[in-house]
């Protein structure tokens, strides 16, 4: 099973080389892998039908609770079969579609990576492995949308798709972490067995985060805009990733988690309402599209909305409908996409209004398109009809929101019928129109897929028991949490769903008949483009750039004074906050008694500082700063630290000399700051000074540990045999300190000497 997933990656590495050496046959040969995988997954069907879900485990990163566990049940198997089955045809198809393209080897490499990643998503039992594969699908999708990278639009839309899906994906990660915490495990089968997920404290947050991930991936309103734009990709990619598989990953995950976290009102409203809205938006936008691929993209959005809505409704009927619809949609949509590609490939245009009368030139394409479109429209005897009947039945029985969902479902169905007719009839009937290329029937490689898939739509419609027992049944069991007994057949008798179907078909054909007028109406509705969520995305991106530029101007302007300002303010803020929060207003402030001479010296220090900051003479500033330094040295002496005082005086002297020597070399003093800026600086400086004062007062109120000076006094004579404590401290207790100080002062003196020498030499010149 592990090999089945990873084989895609292995083949991806070999694909470029194989493509070059096999030339034209590459598509057919490479398709052997997905075909083989299809058969392999098919062999699991009897096992799952007979014995239920299977878990296959391989260890990977034990330190992080990440293991490669595979969960094989009806749901994952249904997806795996779709991925490998449709994948087989897509690979063959791409060989014809991109025949002779310079990047075909790269294309196959990415395509197989994607296929492997997608299989990983649906088969992973471990949340993290699932997420890893999930994001890999986004990245491969990015590379495939941007396949025609010479075109600016392709690159732009590729990035758009990536940002939306990866963004949602990361929200999903947060959601999955919460899910793992709630379920007490990272293994899906253990999490889903837990009964307490819905009572989890952060249930709502968890569901919303997970849904952000699934909604972005599965193009639900309001994130749906990226999917039609992703049609910039080559058609095989659109058919495979953006219709049949990748975009369904979100649906897969919602279906997968349904037995564990579904069934609540939040789940019903979020999925039901957003799904229904997406369904409506998709069909509404499809109706106004004239591009072959755009029509299909929007009907895909419709289908994804329908699936989300059905999972949200969550009744037995709805789950059966969802799984049936999923299968039906994958079959007809992949076929339609490949046919659209064939039309585009053979005629050179994707614009429906420019195509016509191709029925005789491309007969197989025409017939296949009709069959697939009938399934899309939901007409008997196609499988799509069964799916649509079930869907109507489910919306009619939906709890709480049944009117809302039913109305939207019927309206959407009408529009979809119209578009199915547009798609399958417009290009083929009527007079032959001039096209950029001279049309003829597509090659076998491009027709085999659509013919087989459309044929399956017909077979499954006529023999509903086949998918019911082998595919849909086990999948329904997995999504519902328990097996259900049901059957799929065309004729249900005359009932409300059938009436709705008839209504949809009749109204849809009317719309088709008047389609040109409908288009004219749409053209007047320009607000869709001006206010859609895509504009929101663009505004958001622009806003980010603007914010970045603004922040740079504000904080990162290159002026050190502003940097200092920020640092000082933050420090004051943090300390002040701690001061008032942790000690309260009742901070134990100590009081200090001063002697007169201390006050005088302190006053001089303050005076020096003030003069230094307001004077416009450099020399004056240096001199007054020296005053501050000497004042402090004096204070050291007063507080019986003569050693410190001496050092301070020496350092101060040297500093003043150095500064004077250096400053002489600078250009004349200029006043660059405005009065307001200086006032601001003063306030900031005072805030720091004030805070320090408060701190010192607070510290003073506290009895600190034993004063070290008492110890020194006690040791002075017995240990060091000295009666002069200052001497003992300097040359004995702190001998190394003194040495260091001498060293530093000496070094500074050498510097001063060098500076004086330099100046003297300057003079000589």
């Amino acid at each position: 099973m592990l090999l089945a997933v990873l084989s895609g990656f292995i083949l991806a590495a070999l694909a470029p080389w194989l493509t070059r050496s096999l030339q034209d046959k590459a598509g057919w040969v490479l398709a052997l892998l997905p075909a083989g995988l299809f058969v392999y997954f098919l062999s699991w069907v009897p096992v799952v039908v007979a014995e239920g879900a299977q878990v296959v485990a391989y260890p990977w990163i034990p330190g992080l609770d990440i293991s490669l566990t595979m969960l094989v049940d009806g749901l994952s198997l249904l997806f795996a079969l779709l991925i490998s089955g449709i994948g087989t045809f897509i690979i063959i198809y791409a060989g014809g579609y991109l025949h002779g393209h310079e990047y075909l080897p790269r294309f196959y490499a990415i395509m197989f990576s994607f296929m492997a990643a997608m299989l990983g998503v649906v088969l992973s039992n471990n949340l993290i492995t699932l997420f890893v594969f999930w994001e890999l699908t986004s990245i491969t999708s990015y590379l495939l949308i941007g396949f025609h990278h010479e075109e600016k639009e392709s690159r732009w839309y590729a990035l758009q798709g990536l940002i939306v899906t990866v963004g949602g994906g990361l929200a999903l990660l947060a959601g999955l972490i919460m899910l793992a915490l709630a379920g007490g495990s990272f293994e899906l089968h253990e999490i889903l067995a837990s009964e307490e997920l819905r009572d989890y404290g952060f249930y709502a947050g968890m569901v919303i985060l997970i849904l952000l991930g699934t909604f972005t991936k599965s193009a639900q309103v309001p994130f749906h805009f990226w999917l039609p734009n992703a049609m910039a990709a080559p058609t095989p990619v659109s058919a495979f990733l953006h219709s049949a598989t990748m975009v369904k990953a979100g649906v897969y995950l919602m279906a997968r988690l349904n037995p564990g976290i579904g069934g609540t009102e939040l789940w019903l409203y979020a999925l039901g309402i957003f799904g229904a809205l997406t369904m409506f938006t998709g069909s509404f936008m499809a109706l106004r599209s004239t591009g072959l691929k755009a029509v299909l993209a929007y009907t895909t959005v419709m289908a994804l909305g329908t699936l989300t809505m059905l999972i949200g409704i969550g009744t037995e009927q709805a789950i059966i409908a969802a799984m049936t619809f999923l299968l039906a949609h994958a079959l007809y949509k992949a076929a339609l996409f490949m046919l659209a590609g064939a039309l585009d490939h053979e005629t050179g245009t994707k614009d429906i209004t420019r195509l016509g009368g191709l029925r005789q030139l491309m007969p197989i394409t025409f017939i296949t398109a009709c069959v697939a479109a009938l399934s899309l429209a939901g007409l008997p005897p196609l499988f799509g009809f069964i799916a649509k009947e079930l869907m109507f039945e489910a919306t009619l029985q939906a709890p709480l929101i049944s009117t809302f969902t039913t109305v939207l479902a019927v309206v959407s169905a009408i529009m979809i019928v119209a578009m199915a007719a547009v798609f399958s009839l417009r290009p083929f009937l009527g007079p032959l129109k001039e096209t950029p290329k001279k049309p003829h029937e597509a090659p076998l490689s491009m027709l085999i897929g659509p013919v087989v898939l459309a044929g399956l739509s017909l077979v499954f419609g006529l023999a509903g028991f086949l998918p019911a027992t082998a595919l849909v049944g086990p999948a329904v069991a997995a999504v519902h949490g328990a097996p259900l007994d049901f059957d799929l057949y065309l004729w249900h008798g005359i009932n409300l769903p059938l009436m709705l179907s008839v209504l949809a078909v009749v109204a849809g054909l009317l719309l088709f008949w008047q389609w040109d007028r409908v288009l004219a109406v749409y053209r007047r509705m320009t607000f869709i483009d001006r206010f859609g969520p895509e504009r929101g995305y663009e505004k958001l991106m622009d806003g980010l750039v603007w914010l970045a530029a603004w922040q740079t101007r504000l904080l990162q302007n290159g002026y050190m004074r502003n940097y200092l300002l920020t640092i000082v303010l933050t420090t004051v803020g943090l300390t002040g906050w701690t001061f008032f929060v942790h000690t309260g207003s009742s901070a134990p402030l100590g009081t200090i008694e001063f002697a007169v001479h201390e006050i005088v010296v302190a006053g001089l220090v303050v005076l020096g500082a003030i003069v230094a900051s307001v004077t416009s003479s450099r020399l004056g500033a240096v001199a007054t700063l020296g005053m501050v330094g000497f004042g402090i040295a004096l204070l050291y002496v007063f507080f019986s630290a003569p050693d410190l005082g001496t050092t301070q005086i020496m350092v101060e002297t040297l500093t003043v000399i150095l500064l004077v020597l250096v400053l002489f070399r600078l250009p004349a003093f200029q006043n660059l700051s405005s009065a307001a800026a200086r006032l601001r600086d003063a306030v900031v400086a005072l805030s720091l000074g004030g805070l320090m004062t408060l701190l010192i007062l607070a510290v003073n109120a506290v009895e600190v540990t034993d004063r070290i000076s008492d110890q020194l006094v006690a040791w002075s004579y017995p240990e060091a045999h000295g009666r002069n404590i200052v001497n003992v401290i300097l040359v004995d207790f702190r001998a190394l300190d003194t040495l260091g100080e001498i060293f530093v002062v000496g070094l500074a003196a050498i510097g001063v000497y060098a500076m004086i020498r330099l100046r003297a030499e300057d003079r000589k010149k």
């Binding site: 330190g63 992080l64 890893v132 963004g167 640092i567």
Partner: protein, 482 residues
Amino acid sequence: MTNEAFETPNLLLALPEIWLLAMACVVLVVDLFSNDRDHGPAFWLTQVTLLGGIIITVSTQWGVDATTFSGTYVADSLGALLKIGILVLAFLGFAYSRDYMRDRGILKGEYYMLGLFAVLGMMVTVSAGNLLSLYLGVELMSLSLYALVAIDRDSSRASEAAMKYFVLGALASGMLLYGMSMLYGVTGTLDLGEITAAAAELDDRRFLFLFGLVFMMVGVAFKFGAVPFHMWVPDVYHGAPTPVTLMIATASKVAAVGLFLRLIGEGLLPLLESWQHMVVLLAVLSLLIGNTVALVQTNIKRMLAYSTFNHVGFILMGFVAGTPEGYAASVFYALTYAFTVAATFGVVLLLARKGFEADHITDLKGLNDRSPLFAFVVLILMISLTGIPGTVGFYAKWMVLKSVVEAGFVWLAVLAVIGAVVGAFYYLRLVRYCYFDKAEGEGPQPTGSGGFQAVLAANGLLVLVAGIFPGTLVAVCLAAFL
């Protein structure tokens, strides 16, 4: 205070630092008497020193838990792990920088000497068991780095950057020292272990502890380059010669992690409640500012500088929980991030040639056509920095997120994740230039020597391999805290 008898320290325990100090002096002297214009002997001796340091560290300190020099020096697995990281990063830095420095005429013996002293400072920092040795290490590192930034004395941009770095750094060091002095005032000891014990016994002097904590946090945040103490980072990254930027961006970040863990993470763990919110604040600001501003940068070095804040935010988030798992996540993050960034700067250095810095993002246009190997390396590095699954960057983010979610900060995790998404935008832009655009003019050309290219390619591919098999490194990081 008791009058302790002088004990002969167990020098063997501190062998890595002693080796480095001795060899730095040897390099200094050898370079003085060597006539090689390319400073070959200094280069090779430096690399031998670093490799030797790795071997010594692994063999003498991994799995050990002991102190020497009266408790001022700690030899343990955490220190060993960080030191190995620092040494390897320095090795990579020197390996990548030789051609660049020579082309610009700033390849001097001092470069190796200062670099080695900076490394020594980092090693002392991460092995400190005492406030004094901690500060000593931090200052040795910082002072060496200030000088290194200004090693290209004729570049006004470098001089300006060095000046800013020095003034702001001195201020931050002052705050750090001030905070330490408060701690000493309250506890009467410099020993981190004793301070931890004292912090656990709360009394009416607790608030003094808290003030000391705030000041030390400011100092540490500055060394990290965490917002709002970050303004020096873009200017220094941009102004300094790229090899020096590499050193500051990688090894010094790992040292900063060590600084935080020794001083606050482990030293003041009993005060977790008090510093937790500060770390959260720093992390949030770093995530917000870093990501938004990186978006508009067109200079790779500045872009990496801003994106550093994002990663610093993640590293800080790992500290928030105050658990061994969280700390292990931070260490894992810092190490993997540093290796990825080292390779990124390596690519910039590789493509740089005389008169062409290759530090503008459009300078990478068409790299795939010129050198598919290094375009692939850029691809790996960028997706790893973005944190896309399958790369080592993802597991780093994952470990951190897990730890904060377990600590109950779900909103913080969500915020970080949003930041990471924005990050995807500017990291992947580089990839786009490499793969999707055609080269303009001469375009990017790999210029370095064979050895340089081989080391760089190995560095890039190691990031890939670590992404596929992260198990061992994760286990090592966890083991360092257990």
